[in-house]
């Protein structure tokens, strides 16, 4: 049964990709295909990175409400980029442009997220609600620190702080595409290789230990992959608050399974369809100027509230 649903999802994805490439396209097809193709590739990379990191995070925390974005991962990355500029004086602080900056930020981010979230997740008796609250407050903290840093660098710039707070799906840093694709590809292979161990980890600490899985090691490995995936996605488009939550919740509804071999694929397809199709609709059909991410935030936030309230009834 999951096989048929996966095929339907794949068809939907192809349809949305075709729509993104062709709707409203005029003039030289060679140029259009190249220009839009790069964007399409970037969108797909971001989409898969986000869905995979969210699935990993929900598995190691064993709940369906947490996502790396809610816990402040992507704000941490943006803060690290801003700090790099503040300390080393790299020129353009809002977007990652050179691959040196990219690699340095990536390494710092992975280390910081392992340290910070590893400590949080591997507590003696983790309290889920307190952990989420911590994440939300950390998000505010990181964002305020970043604003402070950027303002220190350039007190007159106001709009840049504002703009960099939203994901930019319409203007993507395509210059980094090659290195981003390589990094995400490696992380995805890592996640795929872990898929059976993730099945075990999602059963909970006791069951996983019983089945011979080293929970601590598995958690840290997953955190490492999440750090890498979120860094690259954020470097490409910026923070993406509720997107991960939205698409993975849909994936759970469409393919209800505990097997990560299915879940990872279906979440990736749904994520890519949402991003590419949503962007095509928003940009080309409705002509809205609002970034897709604001719309997704709205929908994702409502979904989050519904999930919490539904969880209460059970």
């Amino acid at each position: 049964m999951p096989r048929r649903r996966l095929i339907v999802l794949a068809v939907l994805f192809v349809a949305s990709a075709v729509a993104y490439m062709t709707i409203g396209a005029r003039g030289n097809w060679g140029f259009v295909l190249e220009f839009r193709g790069a964007k399409l590739a970037a969108l797909c990379l971001v989409a898969v990175a986000l869905s995979t990191s969210t699935v990993l995070f929900q598995t190691i925390t064993q709940n369906r409400i947490l996502t790396p974005s809610i816990m402040g991962f992507d704000e941490l990355f943006v803060l690290i980029v801003a700090m790099g500029v503040f300390v080393f004086g790299m020129t353009d602080y809002l977007v990652v442009t050179s691959w040196v900056q990219f690699v340095v930020s990536l390494v710092l981010m992975t280390g910081a997220s392992l340290l910070l979230f590893g400590t949080l997740l591997l507590q003696e008796r983790p309290d889920l609600m307190r952990m989420i609250l911590t994440g939300l407050v950390l998000t505010v903290l990181f964002r305020s620190l970043r604003t402070l840093l950027v303002r220190m660098l350039d007190p007159n710039e106001f709009s840049v702080v504002q703009v960099s707070s939203y994901a930019r799906f319409h203007q993507i840093e395509t210059g980094l595409l090659a290195i981003a694709a390589a990094t995400i590809g490696a992380a995805l292979i890592g996640a795929w290789a872990m898929r059976h161990r993730l099945d075990v980890l999602s059963l909970g600490r006791e069951a996983a230990i019983n089945l011979g899985e080293d929970v601590r090691r598995g958690t840290l490995q997953a955190l490492f992959l999440i750090g890498v995936l979120v860094s690259v996605a954020t470097a490409l488009v910026g923070p993406t608050a509720f997107l991960g939550l939205l698409v993975v919740s849909i994936a759970h509804a469409v393919t209800p399974t505990g097997r990560h071999a299915v879940l990872l694929v279906s979440a990736a397809l749904i994520s890519a369809t949402t991003l590419v199709g949503g962007q095509a609709l928003l940009e080309r059909v409705f002509g809205l100027v609002t970034p897709l991410t604001v719309v997704i935030d709205l929908a994702g936030g409502v979904l989050f509230l519904v999930l919490v309230m539904k969880g209460l009834k059970r």
Partner: protein, 317 residues
């Protein structure tokens, strides 16, 4: 009492410091000789000081009242939808009736803040009282959804810059003639102090309040009105100032308990002091430029909040 006096002295000292910080060099001695110096104080420095003090004090009081209404320590008006609700109302007035007066904006902002806060109370009531963090979490997301709605409307109408002014609280725009409505927030805070006992009782819960002869609905309604009014006035005049309504009541409650008749003056004073301190820091950090006070408070407040979350419990759980 001694502590109260000490706090008052500190607040006055900070206020004096605040008066003499700014791009135009102003020394206390100049006040005696230079009429322009007096003018500067009257037009810019004093209004700013008053705005800061009123904002801090009334937000801290509003936070306390909201925490009593929800019966939860981890909520505050600016993060559970009151502030965002006010911004939404003001935005709608700006869009559909650009010529409307300031009072129309405040009235609309208060109304939408009231509606969104009431909505949060309705949701919070359905959450289990055994999970205090859950209420705060739902509140944050609820506020975030309304905030995303505000951003959406603003983006569609190219008003993002304007929204930025309301979302990030700062005091650099405060001048004589442009902040006076804030005194209404001070009035609301004083009124809350007048009925402080009733809020204390309200914090004991529905059954206990009715048992003690409290008109539960009436006090609830009054509290909601006060919180909404303070939120709307703050958002209109200076923008969203985070965390004051959250950490000040918590810290004071830790030190002095929950008898609001006794603690509300201290809460108001601490709130005023905290915002004043962050405003001073925001002004000198990158002199002569200014940071938004809300950003400074965001950093300080987040750190204190995490400390509040993870401090070891003093009593058996």
């Amino acid at each position: 009492m001694g502590r109260l006096l000490l706090g008052l002295v500190a607040l006055v000292a900070l206020s004096l410091v605040s008066l003499f910080i700014g791009v135009i060099d102003l020394r206390p001695g100049a006040l005696l000789q230079d009429p322009e110096a007096l003018q500067l104080i009257a037009v810019s420095r004093a209004p700013r000081l008053f705005a800061v003090l009123i904002t801090g004090a009334s937000l801290a009081v509003a936070g306390t009242v909201l925490q009593m209404l929800v019966r939860n320590r981890f909520v505050e008006p600016m993060t559970v939808g009151s502030g965002e609700g006010a911004a939404l109302g003001i935005l709608l007035v700006t869009l559909y009736a650009p010529a409307a007066s300031l009072f129309a904006k405040i009235a609309m902002g208060s109304a939408t803040a009231f509606a969104s806060t009431a909505g949060f109370l309705l949701i919070a009531r359905r959450l289990p009282p055994t999970q205090p963090y859950m209420v705060a979490l739902v509140g944050l997301v609820y506020g975030g959804v309304i905030g995303a709605g505000v951003t959406f409307v603003a983006y569609q109408n190219d008003l993002l810059q304007m929204i930025g002014v309301w979302i990030t609280g700062e005091f650099s725009g405060v001048l004589q003639g442009r902040y006076e409505t804030l005194w209404l927030a001070a009035v609301a805070a004083v009124l809350c102090f007048v009925v402080a006992d009733q809020f204390s009782i309200l914090g004991l819960g529905h059954a206990a309040s009715i048992n003690l002869g409290l008109n539960y609905r009436q006090v609830m309604l009054f509290g909601l009105l006060a919180v909404s009014l303070v939120s709307a006035l703050t958002v209109v005049s200076v923008g969203i100032i985070p965390f004051v309504g959250l950490i000040v009541p918590n810290i004071v409650s830790r030190m002095m308990g929950d008898n609001l008749r006794r603690t509300l003056p201290v809460i108001a004073m601490t709130g005023a002091g905290l915002v004043l301190l962050s405003d001073i820091v925001a002004r000198v950090l990158r002199y002569p430029f200014e940071m938004p006070s809300a950003t400074v408070l965001g950093v300080v407040g987040a750190v204190v909040f995490i400390w509040l979350l993870y401090r070891p419990a003093r009593h058996a759980p």
